[in-house]
């Protein structure tokens, strides 16, 4: 797994919730602490924007790149700033 190995100092109530949830799902083999924390973080902190991607229509000679919903419009001034500053 290309993940990050770390140590968490969890409050007692959170640790208890994790133990209970692990037991509810069938124990550590079925639901390890790593898996429970990862699932929770994905649900809470992964915004739609972070997972959204541009849609590419690569029709030759008439390409359109459509940004993810909610992406701010870019102006000519933004373009100049990105290129030249």
């Amino acid at each position: 797994m290309n993940g990050m190995k770390t140590t968490l100092d969890l409050p007692a109530d959170v640790a208890r919730s994790l133990r209970l949830e692990s037991a509810r799902r069938g124990g550590r083999k079925a639901a390890s602490l790593t898996r429970l924390v990862s699932d929770a973080v994905r649900r809470v902190y992964t915004s739609p924007e972070a997972t959204a991607k541009s849609r590419l229509d690569l029709t030759p000679g008439r390409v359109v790149v459509t940004p993810p919903r909610g992406t701010p419009k870019v102006s000519s001034e933004n373009v100049r700033a990105a290129l030249y500053d």
């Binding site: 459509t66 870019v74 100049r80």
Partner: protein, 138 residues
């Protein structure tokens, strides 16, 4: 080739998230049969912009995707040329620049002129400085 696109117009024509997208797309579709192209500098600018989170936010493209986008746009029924200038930048054009941002704009004006084309741009400063060598988009 009648028209050379500047960096902003090329991005605007392709990227729906650009404020000028609709007008730039319409303009480019109408202009293509007359012959069009981009300078190598604009080709690379399009790739850079497509990969830049400050421009594309969460929708940034990978290098491969950005290159696919540019190559696909250059294809089709009216293919675009990619111009590699063989000439040096001309003092007479560049010394009119006011500020560093205009250097690349004025260089593209020269590339267009040297290839018998006009620079397609939405930039008011470039249009004002070189009315005979530019066309307004947007």
């Amino acid at each position: 080739m009648k028209h050379l696109l500047d960096n902003d117009v090329f991005l605007a024509a392709i990227y729906r998230g650009h404020a000028l997208h609709g007008r730039a797309r319409l303009w480019l579709d109408a202009a293509k049969p007359g012959g069009w192209g981009v300078a190598v500098e604009t080709y690379l600018a399009m790739v850079r912009l497509s990969m830049n989170p400050a421009v594309m936010h969460a929708g940034v493209l990978t290098a491969k995707q950005a290159l696919d986008v540019v190559e696909a746009e250059l294809g089709g029924r009216h293919p675009g040329r990619v111009i590699l200038s063989a000439r040096k930048p001309e003092r007479t054009l560049l010394e009119k620049a006011v500020g560093h941002r205009q250097i690349m704009d004025f260089w593209l004006v020269q590339v267009a002129r040297d290839n018998g084309a006009k620079l397609a741009t939405a930039d008011a400063g470039t249009l004002a400085n070189w009315p005979a060598l530019t066309v307004k988009v947007g």
